[in-house]
């Protein structure tokens, strides 16, 4: 690993090999205990060590080959002339880009029908539920957090708290008072927005990294309270039997007044899944629409100005207190909507669903996608969430690595690694250019590297 980041252009093959040997030596030091030896519980509950020389050897070999390959690729790349930073996009891309949004929305609207045509009624359930709904939830959360992080530049590591507030508002009010999903959806959003203001108020003076850690602490506090305040939230056991949303009052069940009977269809659970799919799709589209419109209002402009330079903002007479609080509140409100949808879809929630890793995943979607970019969030959600689901399906790997091999075990490891690698490759995320919100005569793409941001 030693030679990986050296930006030397004129490297000979011997240099590359020497770096690779160094990297392998470092990797040996790092891995000799943690991979070379395995700790196992014995019968007497003490720990026994067993050696794994084969595994250690193959990993070191992989490190060596990997460093040599990276060295060669970097050497070749350094020889090629560098591309100008602000190059215009390819003409084909420029010609197709206005049609991208309608095409994508059309495709997603038709997705359940395509899935049913290709995979049949039973097979489609998995595609619509695990891929469609799951990805759309994260797109919605990503777009919600995008208001806080991408537009206002306030780094929030505790976003999952608002997701939890939304989910618990719906779950508690629906199970205790029997209120319907359609009444509780706005209530959950309002409660979450309220919590956004409560948690936003104390951190108004903080910036950047400090803000990140305090919001993380707030997220953890809410989770710990949900775990420990058993009378209120039922603790670790969570809340089960949460009522499912109805089709404007018509439930999705096999009874005579159920959805299938009313519309004269044969009963199948797929209808509910399809309904949930369209529900979260509409919710996400509302989020995107509101975000796009807000960016054109004075408040949206103020958010973006705040992100670029807080001191200049104050000098120009923008009220930073209300600007920050509205960003927190609106971001939290969308988190709350998504949370109540999540509770309604699962029928069961527990504090386990609202851990820090969830916040990190949503933040990763926003940042890896490219701050402030709506398309970026979509790309990152599809890649991260869809990638996780696909990892679960890779059963053939068991034949390569043996029966005990479980690819899902590696998902978080791969997730963390890809976060680091994407940052190294594109520190501003995958979609790093963005449309300017204000322009004179013609729209010019703003390259991300020309914009100072994230000063929170």
């Amino acid at each position: 690993m030693a030679g990986v980041v050296d930006p030397d252009k004129e490297k000979s093959l011997t240099d590359i090999l020497r770096d690779a040997v160094m990297a392998t030596a470092v990797a040996f030091g790092m891995f000799v205990l943690l991979i070379g030896l395995k700790t196992d519980q014995s019968q007497a509950n003490s720990i026994e060590l067993s050696a794994r020389p084969g595994l250690l050897g193959s990993i070191l070999l992989a490190v060596f080959i990997g460093t040599v390959l990276i060295g060669i690729i970097r050497q070749q790349a350094a020889k090629r002339p560098a591309k100008p930073a602000n190059a215009p996009p390819h003409p084909l891309v420029a010609a197709l880009s206005p049609y991208l949004a309608p095409f994508l929305i059309g495709f997603v609207f038709l997705f359940p029908i395509i899935a049913i045509q290709l995979a049949g009624w039973q097979g489609a359930l998995k595609w619509i539920d695990n891929f469609g709904i799951q990805i759309l939830i994260y797109i919605m959360l990503g777009w919600g957090l995008n208001v806080v992080v991408g537009l206002a530049g306030l780094l929030d590591l505790g976003y999952v708290a608002f997701y939890a507030v939304g989910a618990y508002s719906y779950a508690l009010l629906a199970t205790k008072y029997g209120l319907s999903f359609w009444i509780l959806l706005p209530i959950a959003g309002i409660l979450a927005a309220f919590w956004g203001i409560i948690l936003g108020f104390p951190v108004l003076r903080l910036r950047g990294d400090y803000l990140a850690v305090v919001t993380l602490a707030f997220g953890e506090i809410i989770r710990l309270v949900l775990i420990n305040w058993v009378d209120f939230s039922n603790g670790y056991a969570g809340i089960s039997g949460i009522p499912r949303p109805t089709f404007f009052g018509i439930p999705f069940n096999a009874s005579d007044t159920g959805f299938a009977a009313v519309f004269g269809l044969e009963f199948t659970p797929v209808y509910r899944t399809i309904f949930l799919f369209y529900l979260i799709l509409v919710l996400s589209l509302i989020t995107a629409y509101v975000t796009v419109r807000l960016r054109r209002l004075p408040i949206g402009r103020a958010w973006e100005a705040l992100r670029e330079d807080e001191i200049a903002c104050r000098a120009l007479g923008i009220n930073t207190v209300t600007t920050k609080l509205t960003a927190f509140a609106i971001g939290a409100m969308f988190g709350g909507f998504a949370g109540s949808f999540f509770a309604a879809r699962q029928g069961f929630i527990s504090p386990e669903s609202f851990t820090f890793i969830e916040s990190a995943q949503i933040l990763a979607i926003v940042v890896l996608g490219g701050l402030g970019s709506l398309y970026g969030v979509v790309i990152a959600s599809v890649a991260i969430v869809g990638g996780f689901e696909i990892l679960r399906e890779l059963d053939f790997l068991k034949q390569v690595f043996g029966k005990d091999f479980d690819p899902a075990q590696y998902r978080a490891l791969i997730f963390g690694l890809s976060m680091v690698l994407i940052m190294l490759w594109k520190p501003r995320g995958l979609v790093s250019t963005r449309e300017p919100s204000v322009f004179l005569k013609e729209r010019k793409a703003v390259s991300g590297s020309l914009v100072k941001e994230g000063h929170g």
């Binding site: 690993m1 030693a2 990986v4 980041v5 470092v26 990797a27 030091g29 790092m30 205990l33 943690l34 395995k38 700790t39 196992d40 509950n45 003490s46 720990i47 060590l49 780094l155 590591l157 104390p202 951190v203 003076r205 903080l206 950047g208 990294d209 400090y210 990140a212 850690v213 305090v214 993380l216 602490a217 953890e220 506090i221 710990l224 309270v225 420990n228 001191i311 990190a360 933040l363 990763a364 940042v367 890896l368 701050l371 075990q409 590696y410 978080a412 490891l413 997730f415 963390g416 690694l417 976060m419 680091v420 940052m423 190294l424 520190p427 501003r428 590297s449 941001e453 994230g454 000063h455």
Partner: protein, 307 residues
């Protein structure tokens, strides 16, 4: 009164561990202005390294008093070296290319690295808690009243002595050696330091190595004190140590140790007199309250906003 004295002893022990981790946060923040999010997990890696080394040595030499002492010494020295190597490699691969880049990039990279470390250890060593055989079992009875005995356990003495000794050495290094001078110079003005012939990259690397070595010591102490470690044990002590660093004044080394001791005390006293379930909530609240009302910390310099 006796209960209180016992809690103070326990709190100071815990505080010594937090203080050792906090020094790593505060040094890295001082020199490159970044919250090293993966530092808590470096502490956990240090703990696992110590666990395996301890089992190796006691497995070869038996479990006599001399063997345990030797094992702990090996854990400390080799553990510091190997954990330092980890942090050196992480800094070089994941943080250095992003220095001077977009401000959020190193933080995101550090969060990714934290997730990588946790899951790497989980995959490589399994998800179960790893206990070590109890060591240094007895203690000194300080006072006794109504059947309640206040003890100062031998392991607590070991923790105090080792922490004090290492922090002393570390203090000497930072204050009196050319390396320490280079470090403080980079902290004040990196560009100027490099103009004056200081290798900033090397200094930053060494800072990460020292921070990780102290975190590894904390890992050994944690293992002695609790006798068990698991892959997820880095997160909460990490956040608490960060709280300690902020409370003491981020960038200030004595502040980090002081903050660690305060956090340790608050945590044990809160568990003893209020509610053990909410002890983490207390520590996190303390972080928020400090940042809101005393952002420069107890011993830190107030941050001047420059335009």
């Amino acid at each position: 009164m006796e209960v209180f004295v016992q809690q103070v002893i326990n709190g100071l022990t815990l505080g010594a561990i937090y203080g050792l981790i906090a020094v790593g946060y505060t040094m890295v923040f001082g020199i490159i202005g970044m919250v090293n999010f993966a530092h808590g997990d470096i502490f956990m890696v240090g703990g696992f390294t110590a666990l395996i080394l301890f089992l190796l040595v006691t497995g070869a030499l038996g479990f006599g008093a001399g063997a345990v002492a030797l094992a702990l010494l090996v854990c400390l020295i080799l553990g510091m070296a190997l954990t330092g190597l980890w942090n050196w490699a992480i800094e070089k691969v994941a943080y250095r290319p992003l220095r001077g880049s977009f401000r959020l990039a190193p933080l995101i990279s550090a969060i990714g690295m934290s997730i990588v470390l946790v899951n790497f250890v989980q995959v490589a060593q399994g998800a179960r808690n790893k206990p070590v055989p109890p060591m240094l079992r007895d203690g000194i009875k300080l006072m006794e009243k109504d059947g309640f005995v206040v003890t100062l356990a031998y392991k607590q003495i070991v923790i105090f002595v080792v922490t004090a000794l290492l922090l002393g050495i570390f203090w000497y290094v930072v204050q009196k050696t050319p390396l320490g001078r280079a470090q403080r110079a980079c902290e004040q003005d990196g560009k100027m330091a490099s103009l004056l012939g200081i290798d900033v990259d090397r200094t930053v690397s060494i800072t990460f190595v020292i921070g990780a070595a102290l975190a590894a010591v904390a890992g050994v102490m944690y293992l002695i004190y609790y006798g068990v470690i698991s892959f997820s044990d880095g997160f909460v002590p990490g956040v608490k140590a960060f709280t300690a660093a902020v409370l003491g004044g981020i960038g200030s080394l004595p502040g980090a140790v002081l903050g660690g001791l305060i956090i340790g005390m608050v945590e044990t006293l809160w568990s003893a007199y209020f509610s053990i379930d909410y002890k983490d909530v207390a520590a996190f609240m303390l972080l928020a309250v400090t940042l809101i009302f005393l952002p420069q910390g107890l011993l830190g310099k107030p941050e001047v906003e420059k335009v």
